[in-house]
């Protein structure tokens, strides 16, 4: 009898105890190291925020430096095989790999950052960084003296092209003479190459450096050369205090916490999230009061308010493409579909998007 009771109680403790205490496992795939002080760093900040919000109900894992090739399939599959319930793949070019693994694991939830294809167990999410690019463009239009902006672009994907266009539209509005010089470096992460690109642009007369790559090497190069720069993804002021005007910060934490909570509660469903300043997913770093006039800072803050309440949209017509065709009519704003697939420069930008 005692033996049966012991057995039963052990069984009960095991069955219910584990059902209660078993935390959900949340995994992340990072393109770079969490210490890049850029893109991956901010995802990691988001992951930690999620942990702090959900406490013991989740555990998290991350795999860093995963290349955007077949290796990513292995990495994602590894997380899936090791019992993760929710997996965030945090780079655009993990798209095919995420879907490939997701097909084999219908019970595991996947979240693909900056992607545009969903499935029953694959949600996509991104932030409207272009709202921040608009503010940067406005500031640059006022701050430049050579009327030349140097833009370091990574890969020709809609996300990056959209940023360039949003920046240029705002900059050319305040300063019609502005010229954009764009270098595609075909990497997210190579401090040496990013510095080379920044120095090349400065050498060609750019006095403001904008980057869409992940390290603070361009900002450092700008500081050394005595020109201005915008940081990327996180506040990079401490690395280049005399060059840094502001950065666009990616705030993922609240979204991650919300999605992980949904998995814990069993209410997760697929979908597409694309939030901006209004939801606090995109935040501007403190404007540099030493370098920028107070009136300009005020204008930037007003723009933030306008973007948040919807009265300002970075892609408000009339917008023409390079061929001179009207793509967004006067008084209208570009639909999300156009923004998500954007692969053309707007009128006024030289060169063409690499194919």
């Amino acid at each position: 009898m005692i033996r049966i009771i012991t057995f039963l109680s052990t069984f009960l403790v095991f069955a219910f105890g584990s059902a209660y205490a078993d935390p959900k496992k949340v995994g992340f795939i990072y393109i770079g190291p969490p210490g890049d002080h850029g893109w991956t760093y901010m995802h990691d900040v988001g992951r930690k925020y999620m942990e702090s919000q959900l406490g013991d109900s989740i555990t998290t894992t991350y795999l860093e430096n995963i290349p955007e090739n077949a290796d990513a399939v292995r990495a994602i599959r590894k997380l899936a095989d090791s019992g993760h319930d929710l997996i965030f793949t945090t780079s655009f070019n993990y798209m095919d790999q995420t879907h490939e693994v997701a097909k084999d694991f219908p019970d595991i939830k996947f979240e693909h950052a900056t992607g545009y294809i969903q499935a029953d167990n694959v949600a996509t999410y991104s932030a409207r960084f272009y709202e921040g690019r608009m503010i940067e463009g406005h500031i640059a239009g006022h701050m430049t003296e050579t009327n030349t902006i140097g833009y370091i672009a990574s890969f020709p994907i809609p996300e990056v092209v959209r940023g360039i266009n949003a920046f240029y539209l705002a900059a050319s509005k305040v300063n019609p003479d502005i010229k954009m010089k764009i270098i595609w470096v075909f990497t997210w992460y190579d401090p040496g190459k990013e510095a080379d690109a920044a120095n090349t642009l400065i050498n060609q007369g750019a006095d403001i450096i904008v980057q869409h790559t992940d390290t603070y090497a361009p900002c450092q190069a700008a500081q050394k050369a005595g020109v201005y720069a915008f940081g990327q993804a996180s506040n990079q002021e401490e690395f280049c205090p005399d060059a840094h005007l502001t950065s666009i910060e990616d705030i993922w934490g609240p979204y991650y916490a919300e999605r992980a909570k949904a998995v814990v509660d069993g209410t997760w469903s697929s979908g597409d999230t694309w939030d901006g300043m209004d939801k606090g997913m995109v935040v501007m770093s403190p404007y540099n009061t030493k370098l920028m006039p107070a009136s300009l800072i005020q204008e930037a803050v007003n723009m933030e308010v306008g973007i948040k309440d919807g009265t300002i949209h970075p892609f408000t017509g009339p917008i023409y493409n390079q061929a001179g065709e009207l793509v967004v009519p006067e008084g209208e704003v570009a639909p999300d579909g156009m923004l998500l697939g954007m692969n053309f420069y707007v009128q006024g930008i030289d060169g063409e998007v690499p194919q």
């Binding site: 770079g32 190291p33 210490g35 890049d36 002080h37 860093e64 430096n65 140097g150 010089k181 764009i182 270098i183 595609w184 470096v185 075909f186 990497t187 992460y189 190579d190 401090p191 040496g192 190459k193 990013e194 510095a195 080379d196 690109a197 120095n199 090349t200 642009l201 050498n203 060609q204 750019a206 390290t215 603070y216 090497a217 450092q220 050394k224 401490e238 690395f239 030289d350 060169g351 063409e352 690499p354």
Partner: protein
């Protein structure tokens, strides 16, 4: 195109190419003695992180470079011990050294990521890189010791029969290669892009390896090759910034394509292979045979 612009481009090319010259010339000496060390990338990273950490702790540039070179000596000494005394396979050991170096540098540097430092002016090292290429060239072709080193790389059994210590010479060559790789790494983390980031050498070690083949194992050609590889990268950036239509992707793979072409050219003719690659490359030396 005005003079300032061209001078500016030249400066950027010099700064960007110097680490390739250091790592390339180091690996060249190692390979000339008949040992292939694929650990260049790993040794560069360990060199980069050690220099950075030492600089943050002591604030002394001299100590940073000095101890960084020491780290290269330790890393390559480990490799030398494995391949020369334990006769392990050079290719596998070299790859393992790279993987080990990537992991070790990440681990050591974890808490130093994002520590701001003051970068050092690169010009001393740029000049030094030219100097070292000419010194190596002089050593190889004008001194007896250089001749012996090359003899060891061509036919270790003959060199051994003549009474030269194959193991000692190879050990020293490997150590030289390691210290040059570490110097290249510390140049990257202290002069070129003054910061520590995991994997910040971003494949330059592999380009240096390709460079040695591209140079058909000749010191001056390492210099020329490095400047072709580095120059092409910076040139295409300039063309892009000038608004010209240019396939940037192509230039990311150009060094490797060029190396394959050179390999095909030299291997199309048996005599050419004999004239270029050290004949004993990757072949282990067993004493007493």
């Amino acid at each position: 195109m005005n003079l300032d612009l061209i001078l500016g481009i030249l400066q950027i090319v010099l700064i960007a190419t110097t680490p390739l010259v250091f790592a390339g010339i180091g690996e060249l000496v190692t390979e000339k003695s008949g040992v292939l060390n694929l650990g260049v990338e790993g040794m560069m990273l360990v060199g980069a992180v050690s220099a950075f950490i030492i600089l943050v702790i002591t604030g002394s540039y001299f100590l940073a470079f000095f101890l960084s070179i020491l780290s290269g000596i330790i890393m390559s000494g480990l490799f030398a011990f494995l391949v020369l005394f334990l006769m392990s396979n050079q290719i596998a050991t070299g790859l393992a050294l790279t993987i080990f170096g990537i992991g070790l540098s990440s681990m050591l540097g974890k808490q130093y990521i994002g520590t701001p430092i003051d970068g050092l002016s690169p010009w001393f090292f740029v000049i030094f890189s030219f100097l070292i290429v000419f010194l190596v060239s002089y050593f190889f072709y004008k001194t007896k010791a250089g001749l012996i080193l090359r003899a060891v790389g061509e036919s270790h059994n003959s060199a051994h029969a003549l009474g030269y210590s194959v193991i000692k010479i190879r050990f020293l060559s490997i150590i030289f290669g390691g210290s040059m790789c570490a110097l290249a790494g510390s140049y990257i983390s202290i002069c070129y892009a003054p910061m520590w980031q995991e994997g910040m050498t971003a494949g330059r070690g592999w380009i240096a390896l390709a460079l040695v083949v591209f140079a058909t194992w000749k010191p001056e050609r390492v210099l020329i090759g490095a400047y072709i590889f580095g120059g092409v990268t910076i040139l295409q950036m300039n063309l892009q910034a000038l608004g010209l239509r240019f396939p940037g992707q192509f230039f990311s793979m150009a060094p490797y394509v060029a190396t394959i072409i050179v390999l095909v050219l030299i291997s199309s003719n048996k005599l050419r292979i004999k004239l270029s690659a050290p004949a004993s490359l990757t072949i282990p030396f067993y004493k007493g045979r």
